[in-house]
Assembly symmetry: C2
DNA sequence: TTCGGTTCTGAATAGGTGTTCACTTTTTTC
DNA sequence: GAAAAAAGTGAACACCTATTCAGAACCGAA
C-alpha cells in the first residue's frame, strides 16, 4: 500500500508552496512585514491557516524564505546590470544604481526585507541577504581597484557603507516622500549614486559620467 | 484638606521617573530593545510593574522617551565636537567621527535606538531622533559648502546618506565583529569617516588630514 | 492621631497571534 | 469501489506580555 505522489500532485504541492510565498510577498509589499501574519497570508493564498504549516515549519521559516526569495531576485538583477556594463567602474555604478532603483520601486517591500521590525527572528536570513548583495558590490569595487580606477581600500567596509547610504537615503524613515514624481526619483537615484561613487574614490567628473550612463536602465528592472 | 505635594515628594517622584528611564536604558544597553519589557524594567528600577504606569502612559511612551533621551545626548555630543573644530570641514569630520565613535561605544543601545525591531510603535520617536542628528550633519555640510570646501549638493540627502553609511557599516548586521580591538576600532572609524567625507566631495588628500585630526577625540565621548 | 488624598503594589485580566490537532476531504493503490 | 495514506481545514489552544484595578501603604494637614 505504498502511496506515491503522482506527478500532478507534486506539481500542485509546489504550486501551493509558491502561492503561499507569493501571498506573503504581496502582503509584505502592500502592508509591510507587520501585515505578514499567518491568517491573512493563508487567506490570500486561498488555503487554511493550518495548511501553511504543512509547507513551512513556522512563521519564521516562511519569512526567512520570503527574504531569501526577494534577495535572490535582487542579486540577479544587480549582477545582470553590472555584467552588462562596459568596464569595472561603470559596472560598479550600474550595480549601485540597480540597487537604488529596485528599492525605490518597491519601497515597502524593501523596507520590510531590510529593516522593518518583525516579531520573529529573521536576523539570519536578513544577514545572508545583505551579505549577498554587499558581496556583489564588494566584487565590483575590487575590480575597479584592480583596474586602477579606485584607490586601495577596505572593500568590505566600503561595500557595506555604500549599501547603508543607499538604503537609508532612499527607503529609510528620512527618505524624501515626494519620490513619486519620476523626475525627482531619477534625481534622487543620481544623487545617491554619485555620492556612493565619490565615497569610494571615483573622481568627480568621471563619476558624473558614469552616473548618467548607469541611471538609464535598459528596461524595467523591477522583478515580480 | 488640601493635599499638597511637598518639595521632598516632588523630588522623589522625579527621581523615580529617572530611575525607570535609566533602568530602561540599561536594559536596552545590555539586552537590546527586545529585553525592554515592563516587568524587567520595573524590577531593575525597584518598583512594581504597575508603578511604571503612573509615570508613563504606555510602554510605547516609555520607549519613545528613552529614544528621545539617548538622542538628546547624542546630539549634544555631536554639536560639542563640531563646534570645537577649527573650520567647517573639520567640523563636519568631527561630527561624523563623533557619531561613529558613539555608536561603536554602545553598539547594542545604538542598534536598539536606530533599528531594532520593537513590538510597539516608536517610529515617530525614531524619526525625530534621526531627523535631529541628520539635521545637525546637514548644517555642517551646508557650512562647508558655503565656505567653498564642498561642491553644491542636496545636503539633506547627503546627510541622510552619510548617517546610513556610518550606521550600516558600524552597527548594522554586516558590521565587522572584531571591533573590540581598539586599533581595529579606530581603523574602522577612520575608514568610514574618510568614505563619508569623500562622498560629499572632500578631496582625498584633504580628507585624510581631516580624518586624522578628528579621530582623536579630546576625551571619552561616551555619555552615561 | 486621624482622615482625605495620593502613590504603590502585584496578582488578575485582556487581547492578539502563532501553532496544534481531531476531523474531513482528496488521492493513490489494489 | 474500498481501504490506506496524505493533504487540507479551521476552531480551539497556548503563550506571552502590556495593562488594569482593588486594596495596602504612605503622606500632608488639621
Amino acid at each position: 500500500m505504498v502511496y506515491r505522489r503522482t506527478h500532478q500532485v507534486v506539481k500542485r504541492l509546489a504550486a501551493r508552496r509558491s502561492a503561499i510565498l507569493a501571498a506573503a510577498r504581496e502582503t509584505a509589499a502592500d502592508g509591510g512585514m507587520a501585515a505578514v501574519q499567518i491568517a491573512p497570508v493563508a487567506a490570500r493564498a486561498k488555503v487554511a491557516a493550518g495548511t501553511v504549516y504543512r509547507y513551512f515549519p513556522s512563521k519564521a521559516d516562511l519569512i526567512s524564505e520570503l527574504i531569501a526569495d526577494v534577495s535572490r531576485d535582487e542579486l540577479a538583477a544587480v549582477r545582470r546590470a553590472a555584467d552588462a556594463a562596459p568596464g569595472p567602474s561603470s559596472a560598479l555604478a550600474a550595480a549601485v544604481t540597480t540597487v537604488a532603483v529596485h528599492v525605490l520601486s518597491h519601497r515597502k517591500l524593501a523596507w520590510g526585507i531590510l529593516a522593518e521590525p518583525v516579531d520573529v527572528d529573521v536576523s539570519a536570513s536578513r544577514l545572508a541577504s545583505r551579505r549577498e548583495i554587499a558581496g556583489e558590490i564588494e566584487l565590483r569595487i575590487e575590480a575597479a581597484v584592480r583596474a586602477g580606477h579606485l584607490p586601495a581600500q577596505d572593500t568590505a567596509l566600503a561595500a557595506t557603507a555604500l549599501l547603508g547610504a543607499v538604503h537609508e537615503s532612499l527607503v529609510g524613515p528620512l527618505a524624501p516622500d515626494n519620490l513619486d514624481d519620476p523626475a525627482k526619483l531619477r534625481d534622487a537615484v543620481q544623487t545617491v549614486t554619485l555620492l556612493a561613487l565619490r565615497a569610494v574614490g571615483v573622481m568627480d567628473a568621471r563619476a558624473r559620467g558614469l552616473v548618467v550612463q548607469a541611471v538609464v536602465p535598459p528596461r524595467s528592472l523591477v522583478g515580480a
